[in-house]
């Protein structure tokens, strides 16, 4: 066990190729725009994905993430811009000649073919000896643990089994790039979690580059090496999962991923390593320990995650980064509790606290007067 952990830690560190200046991307999307009549579904998107990455395109419906995926697969062609995969320009190359396979959201299993025949379909389109086809099909079916169901038709399988057939069918040709459209969307919660780890294991084992489209931020967080957050046809931030969460580049990202409290305000003073923001939402000042490029009096918002806020009956020492209010609601979730606090400025914020102790004499309760506070390091200034 110890060996496995160590090697995976090592590989995780060396895998961060996107941090190295000189590495060449495996998939290059260059200023791609896709218009349907007058409507631009994807607007001037540029994106590099590196070999062995598990890249997530995250966005709400209509954000253009699926259109981007379909352009990679070759079902749509870009109105302008170019897509280069492994050094080859993909324009004019039809789907059946691309070194890419896709797992569809609906799985798109051929209903008239058995599990085996579904998986073999792609191999049979190539000039591969029958024996070889059989062997590879059997291997991959075993790998997704469907050996006992090989002769069944898709309508005789459960949702989770269909998902694995779809995955096997997309992997059996050993594509350079695998596209997954909402791969876990149709599974229930428990199965979803299992499959997430299964996907990550397969990706690591086979060394295939994955691009996953999803609207589920949790899925994106657990699965991916990097996340590209899309909104309205544009990629608004590309970063590693923890960066997207801790350092969202704008309001949309902050609000789309996880919960966040936004305090509106304006720049009071801008020093070398910190910014002081005057905010009416907290009836005071907020200090943020990172520099931003801003002008005095510029309107900004400060984002603070609910779990980074402390809640107490006693007044905090610092006169910044704090506010006073009244508990308006409590939700007990087992591992943690969510408090809604109505600040004196009439702004309601959300605070989550882990339930560390089992018995608390003087538990916080409804209508309690409390102080909320947070560190200058745990908030982010958003200018857009």
């Amino acid at each position: 066990m110890a060996v496995v952990t160590e090697s995976s830690v090592n590989s995780a560190a060396s895998n961060k190729v996107w941090r190295q200046e000189e590495s060449t991307p495996f998939v290059e999307i260059k200023q791609v725009t896709k218009k349907f009549d007058d409507f631009a579904a994807v607007k001037n998107v540029s994106l590099d994905v590196y070999k062995n990455e598990l890249f997530c395109l995250l966005g709400g419906s209509g954000s253009g993430k699926s259109t981007l995926l379909r352009m990679l697969a070759g079902f749509e062609s870009p109105t302008s811009g170019e897509i280069i995969i492994d050094g080859v320009d993909m324009s004019g190359i039809p789907p059946w000649e691309r070194p890419i396979n896709m797992m569809f959201q609906s799985y798109a299993l051929f209903p008239h073919l058995s599990v085996e025949a579904n998986v073999a379909f792609g191999l049979k389109r190539q000039r591969i000896a029958n024996v070889e086809v059989k062997r590879r099909v059997a291997d991959i079916i075993d790998m997704v643990q469907l050996g006992h169901l090989a002769k069944r038709k898709p309508h005789m399988l459960s949702g989770g089994q269909r998902q694995r057939v779809a995955l096997a069918r997309a992997l059996v040709k050993r594509p350079k790039l695998l596209l997954l459209d909402e791969p876990l969307g149709a599974l229930d919660k428990k199965l979803r979690e299992e499959t997430q780890f299964e996907l990550m294991r397969l990706q690591e084992e086979l060394g295939i580059t994955f691009i996953v489209v999803t609207h589920d931020q949790e899925e994106a967080m657990t699965l991916s090496t990097r996340i590209g957050v899309m909104d309205n046809g544009v990629i608004v931030q590309t970063a590693e999962p923890h960066q997207v969460y801790e350092f969202p580049s704008n309001r949309y990202v902050a609000e789309f991923i996880g919960n966040v409290n936004m305090f509106e305000g304006h720049v009071f003073s801008d020093e070398r390593d910190c910014v002081i923001i005057q905010s009416d939402d907290v009836l005071g000042q907020i200090q943020v320990n990172h520099g931003i490029s801003c002008v005095p009096n510029q309107k900004v918002a400060v984002a603070v995650r609910p779990e980074k806020i402390r809640i107490s009956r006693t007044m905090p020492d610092s006169d910044k980064n704090r506010a006073q209010g009244k508990i308006s609601d409590i939700a007990y979730m087992g591992g943690q509790s969510i408090f809604k606090v109505m600040l004196d400025s009439e702004k309601e914020i959300r605070v989550t606290q882990p339930n560390v102790a089992r018995f608390i004499e003087d538990r916080l309760t409804w209508e309690d007067q409390v102080y909320v506070s947070w560190d200058p390091d745990s908030c982010v200034v958003l200018t857009s």
Partner: protein, 268 residues
């Protein structure tokens, strides 16, 4: 179990009676011993025997079957192509005209279809000498024309409910458009094509009006022979023949229904 309500049962019974009583009477009378059609004279199979020894009817039945099989097959091929083009190519010049034309025979009175085809054949015959005379060929062409519409409609509706990602998945896995069609699309729409074929077969077998216009001497189809016989007075032979036709048609409709249902269960 819900309590049965009498009004519903009565309504259903009336409906069944209205639809099936004539057919039941016909079938019963086909086993009539008596020479008079309307007088019951006991059970007998003699009209079936005399039917099979009637050369004129047997010839006409053979002609009809031949025409029905050939034109249903031609209509299935052409209709599938039409349905495919109409549902898979989003926009092209003349699409509205094509789809309108494909639907037209469904609503066009047979008399007009027959008449216009007759005019076409006659003028073609005098222009380039083909078809020289009207016969089996012209009936086949005429039947193909109007059956094609039915096949096209059935195939088109099947294609429009077919999940297009199946075709995309096949392309993604390396299938070129031709193998995509034969390996994925065709097997999936096959039930629609088969039921289109059966529908065409019955329609062709059943047609009197169009065939009367475009068939030539010595090529009378079964409905034409029956109709001419009926005008001279019905013989119980005709009842026997009609019974056999009902059985044939009912059988093919049942097969079509069965195939459609099985497909629905598999494809969902």
């Amino acid at each position: 179990m819900r309590k049965r309500s009498w009004p519903l049962i009565i309504m259903a019974a009336l409906g069944f009676l209205f639809l099936y009583l004539p057919i039941v009477v016909l079938i019963v009378f086909s086993f009539n011993e008596s020479k008079l059609v309307t007088v019951w004279g006991g059970w007998s199979l003699k009209w079936y025997a005399s039917l099979f020894s009637n050369q004129e009817i047997m010839d006409a039945a053979w002609v009809s079957l031949k025409i029905a099989v050939i034109s249903a097959s031609l209509a299935s091929v052409l209709g599938t192509m039409t349905g495919f083009v109409l549902s898979r190519i989003p926009r092209f010049r003349g699409k509205t005209i094509l789809s309108g034309w494909a639907m037209a025979p469904l609503v066009m009175p047979d008399v007009i279809t027959g008449l216009s085809l007759l005019l076409l054949f006659v003028s073609m015959g005098s222009l380039f000498g083909w078809p020289a005379e009207r016969g089996t060929t012209t009936v086949v062409i005429a039947h193909t024309t109007f059956c094609l519409a039915y096949v096209a409609v059935v195939v088109q509706s099947r294609l429009s409910t077919l999940d297009e990602t199946l075709e995309e998945a096949a392309m993604d896995l390396g299938a070129k458009p031709s193998s995509l069609f034969f390996l994925i699309t065709l097997p999936l729409i096959m039930p629609a094509i088969v039921s289109g074929w059966l529908l065409s077969f019955t329609l062709s077998l059943d047609d009197l009006v169009i065939a009367s216009f475009v068939s030539g001497p010595g090529n009378s189809t079964l409905p034409m022979v029956i109709f001419s016989k009926v005008r001279l007075g019905i013989t119980p032979e005709v009842n026997a023949l009609a019974t056999l036709m009902i059985v044939a048609v009912a059988l093919s409709v049942l097969i079509a229904l069965y195939i459609m249902r099985r497909q629905k269960r598999v494809v969902g």
